[in-house]
Every structure is written in C-alpha cells, then in structure tokens.
Symmetry: C2
C-alpha cells in the first residue's frame, strides 16, 4: 500500500505559486501594521488547554480544538486564536513593557470545523492589538488601520463595509433597560449572532422563547433592525455605551462604517466596542475581519488589568474578498533567470553562475543530460522569463545565447550585456 498524497482534511499545501499569493496578502498585512507602529511578535502554536477555557467561546473550546496530551500528560491545544497567547505574553512582562504598546502577529491558527465551502481547519490570521489606551483613541486608530489595509489592497469603499456596535450599549439594553438575567443575556447574544443566518420567523420564535414577552420582543426587534444610532429609543441614547460609540463614529472619517446592533462577536472576553468587516457583495456572506475591546482578559493572569483593543483578519477571508473584486494582481516569480547547458555540467559554468549571483540575480540551472528542446520546455514550465544557453563554444567566446521566453527574441550577448538587459 502506498502512502496518501493528500494533505490532512481542511488544510492546505502551498506550492510556490500558492505560497506567493499567500505572501502577497501577509506582506500587505505586515506593511500596513508596521506603518501604524506595530511590532511583530510570535508565540508557540501549542498552548496549555487551560489558557482557552472560559475565555475563548465555549463552542470553540469544547467542540473545535485540536487537543493533544503530551508524554508527561499535559493537556495542550493547537491555538484556535492568538488573543490568549498575546495576553499571556503581555501579562508575563506587564510591568516591564511601555504603554501604549502596539503588537501584531500572523499566526497559523486551527479549529476543528465541519467541512463547508470556504471553511478550512487552519488559516493564517493577522492579529493586531493595542494595549494601554482606555479611551476610544484606541478604536479610532485600529479602525483607521483596518481601513488602510483594505485601501492598500486597492479596495474601494463601496466594496466593503465596517459594521460596529458596543457590548456596553447592548448590556445597557439587556441588563439596565430590560433587567434580563445573565442566562437570558447570554442567550440573546447567541441569537443575535445568528440573526443574519436564520429565517426571520425562526428568529422571532427564538426571541420569544428567551424574553417570554411579545411587547418587549417588538421593542427589541426595532432595536435590532436599526441601521443608525439615531433610530435607537431616546432613553438608550442617554447611556454611556451609546455616547462612546457615537463619539467614535463622529471622529472616524470613513464613509463605509455603519452601526449594526447585530454585531456582538462570539468571544466571551469582549467588554466594549466590537466590529466586523463585510464584503458588500452579498454572494460573499462571511465576515472578513472581527475585533473589539477586551479590557479584563489580562487580569486573568494575576496582574493589573490593561485596556486592550484588537482584531483578527484571516488570509482566506481576505483572499476570497480580493478574488471576488479582482484585486489579486498577477505575481512574478522571484526567479526569472535560468541557465541551460549543452554538454556541460555545473562545475563548467560555475564562473558564470557565481558572477550572476554576485549581481544579486536569482539563477536556476539545468545541466541534465537531456536535449536542449527539453531544457527549454523545462524553463517555460517553470515560468522563467529569461534563459541563457551555454555550450562549450559559448563558454570559450564568453558570448552566450540569451533568450527572452516571453517575446521569443534570442540574442548573442556577453554576460554584462545580459545583466543590463535583465536589470
């Protein structure tokens, strides 16, 4: 029986052209984060299971982790998200680090999800976190950064929408205005999170199961259907949560940001503003990015709390968005020059090869004992743009056949002429 050639279900093999596309996306993530003064960190892909309990959503911890028990019986998990790791790392140096602290990372994160179109079990996720700013300057900066990422990919403001809400506002509505129990509040969050995925009739039914009061249902329904802050009842407009959110929206000079009361985020640790980014094309329904404020997570490590706002943005949802709007450019391979020999081995042409590499040119070679037409086929299949053909005579006269494989033009040139042609 031979071994399987397939990657594990829900994971990806990145052949060079796939890896190049991935890098295009991750490098834009990187560059934009650095423009805003964020510095890259990283942590281990395995963490103790304990780190995720109660903080990440219960659904993820109980049903979606890759759990592993090591040879000393430690319970470990392949990270399903980066926030617990960065919180642990900042907690470990809580009193040494300088705040505001700007950190980003692009970890590979894993979830055991059922197979669906566009859903995988691993992705690369940009995580950007801003530590130490209590007021909404933090949200202001991060939403500007998010917008800049999309702009840097060439996206137009009508192609994506930033949807924003506030947990504090929702808690005012659920706890102060309606005095729901913690269980009711938690069920409501869960239901709202599902609102755009289920039928409206089912939503009403589920809502009534939670509130058991059809008058309240009508009022809530109005709130959940609001598309701007001004549509919210006047009493809610007096709450702190409302005021903070309104102030932030007034400051942001971004057209495509909207208040959306159905954005609540799945994670338990959010405490304030929460936001997601969506493709405006209705065929691409999944949120591209999500984040918010989580001010108390770091205190779970026994250190003084620290205000934090952060977000996560996956390579796959971004790739789908870019593809959908034809924003992925044609990428050129990093090596575009190859040498094919006629009757010569590597040691015969090492002078030429070394010289080209000294000029910082990436060079691939083919000195196999095969016919020249097959070497040309190899160069074409490998997607090189230029091919230098070297036989004994060329080597003696230091004059080489230089072929542009795209234009099919072939010239006899010296090595320096070739370098000039390429550069």
């Amino acid at each position: 029986m031979s071994l399987s050639k397939l990657a594990y279900k829900g994971t990806r093999d990145f052949y060079p052209s796939d890896k190049q596309k991935l890098d295009y996306i991750l490098n834009k993530f990187r560059g934009t984060s650095e423009l805003f003064g964020y510095q890259e960190y990283d942590g281990p892909i395995l963490e103790s299971e304990e780190l995720y309990k109660s903080k990440t959503s219960d659904e993820i911890v109980n049903n979606q982790t890759f759990l592993l028990i090591d040879r000393s019986n430690r319970r470990l998990v392949i990270r399903p998200e980066m926030t617990p790791t960065v919180s642990r790392m900042v907690a470990a140096k809580r009193y040494e680090l300088a705040y505001p602290l700007r950190l980003y990372s692009i970890p590979n994160v894993w979830r055991y999800e059922r197979q669906q179109t566009g859903r995988l079990r691993e992705h690369w996720q940009l995580n950007v976190d801003l530590f130490g700013i209590e007021d909404n300057d933090a949200e202001h900066e991060l939403i500007n950064l998010i917008n800049k990422i999309f702009v840097n990919f060439g996206a137009k403001s009508d192609q994506y929408q930033i949807r924003i809400n506030s947990r504090k506002l929702m808690e005012y509505i659920f706890n102060v205005k309606y005095s729901f129990s913690p269980k009711q509040t938690s069920d409501l969050y869960h239901l709202i999170d599902q609102k755009n995925k289920i039928e409206s009739s089912q939503f009403h039914k589920e809502l009534n199961k939670i509130t058991k009061d059809s008058v309240i249902d009508l009022n809530l329904q109005k709130i959940f259907d609001s598309t701007s802050l001004g549509q919210l009842p006047k009493d809610i407009q007096l709450s702190d949560g409302f005021r903070e959110l309104k102030d932030l929206l007034d400051k942001l000079k971004i057209d495509n940001i909207v208040f959306d009361p159905t954005i609540v985020r799945g994670f338990n640790y959010y405490t304030g503003i929460v936001f997601e980014v969506y493709d405006t094309d209705p065929s691409n329904k999944r949120s591209i990015l999500g984040g918010g404020r989580y001010d108390s997570l770091i205190s779970e490590f026994g250190v003084k709390p620290l205000p934090v706002v952060g977000f996560g943005l996956g390579d796959l949802t971004m790739f789908n968005f870019l593809n959908n709007h034809h924003l992925m450019p044609e990428l050129q391979p990093k090596t575009n020059l190859a040498i094919a020999t006629i009757g010569l081995k590597l040691s015969d042409i090492s002078g030429v090869v070394d010289y080209l590499r000294e000029q910082q040119l990436n060079v691939s070679t083919n000195c196999l004992d095969i016919r020249l037409p097959n070497k040309i086929k190899w160069a074409l299949k490998s997607n090189y743009q230029y091919l230098i053909i070297i036989g004994k005579e060329e080597l003696n006269h230091q004059l080489y056949s230089f072929k542009n494989l795209k234009s099919n033009v072939e010239l006899k040139l010296t090595i320096d002429q070739i370098i000039n042609k390429i550069k």
Copy 2:
C-alpha cells in the same frame, strides 16, 4: 487561581526584539535560497502519523512525536521534520512539475525531546530540496548554497566545517567488504552516529558486540578514524561510492569541507552522500545543519522515484553559531518615529500622522492623558529614535518640536523638514 504566564516547556515566546533576531536569520536563509533559484512552499503543521512511520527514524516516531487524535479518530502528528511533507507534495504533482525542481521552506517543526541546554521542542528549520538530478551536480549545488548561507552571515571559513560522507561508501564497506547482516549494518550506523558522544573505550566495546571479531574491529577503527579519502584502504577506493564522493570533493572549491566517515545521519531514508556542518569552536558541539541524498522516498507514494538531495538548518543552531562568533548584528526596530501630544487626542493630530504615513514612515503615537516626561520615558523605553512633540500651539503654527532621542538634540521644524531629517 490565576492562569500561568509561562509558555509550554521547551517552546519560545518571541517578543518583538526576539522576533526581529529570528527574522534576521530566516530572511538570510530565504534570500540565499532564492539566489540559487529555489522557490518557497509550505504545508500544514499537522500530518497523518502514517507519513512518518518507517521513513523518519524510529526513535523520532516512537518517542519524540506530538501525537494527536482528531474528533474523527484520525492519528495526526505535529511535523517533526519537513522531508515527508515535501515528498508527499511533490509526489502529488509528480507528472506535472518540471525537473530540476528547486524548493525550500522554513517550517516550524516539533519534537518531544528531553529538556537539555540549547535543546527545545520546536524550532524553525530551513529545508532546501533539489529534485530530479541523479548525478552529483545536485550535491555540488547544495553544498555551494550551504557555504553561501554561512558567507552571507559573515562567517569565516575557519569558523565552520562541512563534514561529508557517503552512505553508498559505508554500505560497500559493511555489506560488500565485510558482508555484515542488515541488523549489524543498522547497529553500526547507530554506533557511528554516537561515536563523538561516547568514550573511546565504550565505542570499542560496542563495536565488538556487533562484529564479534577483533581483527575486523581494528580495520573498521582505522576507517572510522580516517580524516581524508586517501587514508581509506585501496580496495575501498575502487568502489562506486568512493569514486562519487571523491569526484564531488574535487569539484567543490571550498576550503573547509572534510571527509568524515562518522557522518551517517539519523534518518532511514538517505541513500547516497550525507553531510553535516559543525562549528569549529569545540564548545559548540551540536551539528548546525544536516542533509544528504534520499532517492527513493518519493516512490513510497506510489509514483515513479525521483532523485533528491536536501538539507535542514535550524534557527536555533544557527543563532548559537552566530552568537558564538559575534556575528549577530545590532538590529534597528522598524518603527523609529513616535509622536507625543500635549493635551491633544488622536483626532486632533490625524492630519500630521496621515501625512507622515503617506511618506511611508512608520509612526507610533502617544495621546494618553499623562505628563510629557512620562511620554518621553515611554518613547525611550520603546526604543524609538525620533519623537515629535505636538501641543495646541505647535499645531496652530505647524511647527513641531522634533527630538532625536539618541543625541538629545531638539529642534523646531515643519513637518517636511522633519521628514527630510529622518530620510
């Protein structure tokens, strides 16, 4: 009880300054591999356990893997090495890809090793593989590439040594010359691999246990003690393995490469030339890099075999080598410019900040409600070189305090003058 702030045993947290050092190393790996025409690929960190059985060394598969059973009872392993993954990927496109095929990757690989100084459970490992070249042009290129990596780090040829041997040569000695059984051969490989780690007397004892012939022992001892090919017995010098190794050594224009019959490599899949790189400083004993030819691995996937030569080079062994020889440079943070405000929030200075970022300058800000001296402390602690101080007056006159935190010089400048100063 609060959560632990420690990373899992044997793993590393990379804070920004650590991550920068890591990236310095990995980017040199990347740049040199690309100079030789290699293209980057990647695969999932989880692979089926089956992929490693019998191919990777038994010790690793049985005692050193991180094994995980997923929610559908699949047996998975966090990759302990990359060779099985790249073999699987090439096998999957065996008849589409063009050869010679040059691939590299820098995966994070994991082994459950007992804790020792300098040993971790994960590291980042450059993997370079050249597919499709049967003759020693492949080894020739890869050893040149390896040497170039060290040169590109600024290493001198007396600081490291490339040690080379041939499995084919050893098999000639063990199987043809001495007709040892497969069990004896395998035990001998294992013993040789230990030679430099155990006492000479113990080595003799173990050797005799395998051969049970003290005359043979004396001959073998002479072979294992050889430091050049010329010291080997004349009959061995007539073997194919000898001839190929000699031919390769003659071609390589590298001072610091030596024949070393004790280099046999731990993996079962090697079939020809094998090599390792060592620090010449005896305080740093562990091999920095290892590789060789493994021509039959890909056929395990039920496709036509393909000749391959490859090597692996870890970030940690490289870092130790560089540190040992003072080859790690001082690295500058990617953000060296910050803005501190006096009585202003982010929205007040967004014109200035946006303008600086449009000039591709990475900018960090501090608009907290704290006193200016504390903001200067923050900038110093964050290791920024330049600080722009902006209050209401500066904003009105568009003339800003620009402080060089290294030289402590402070000037009043326009924003364009500041940009010129920095660039």
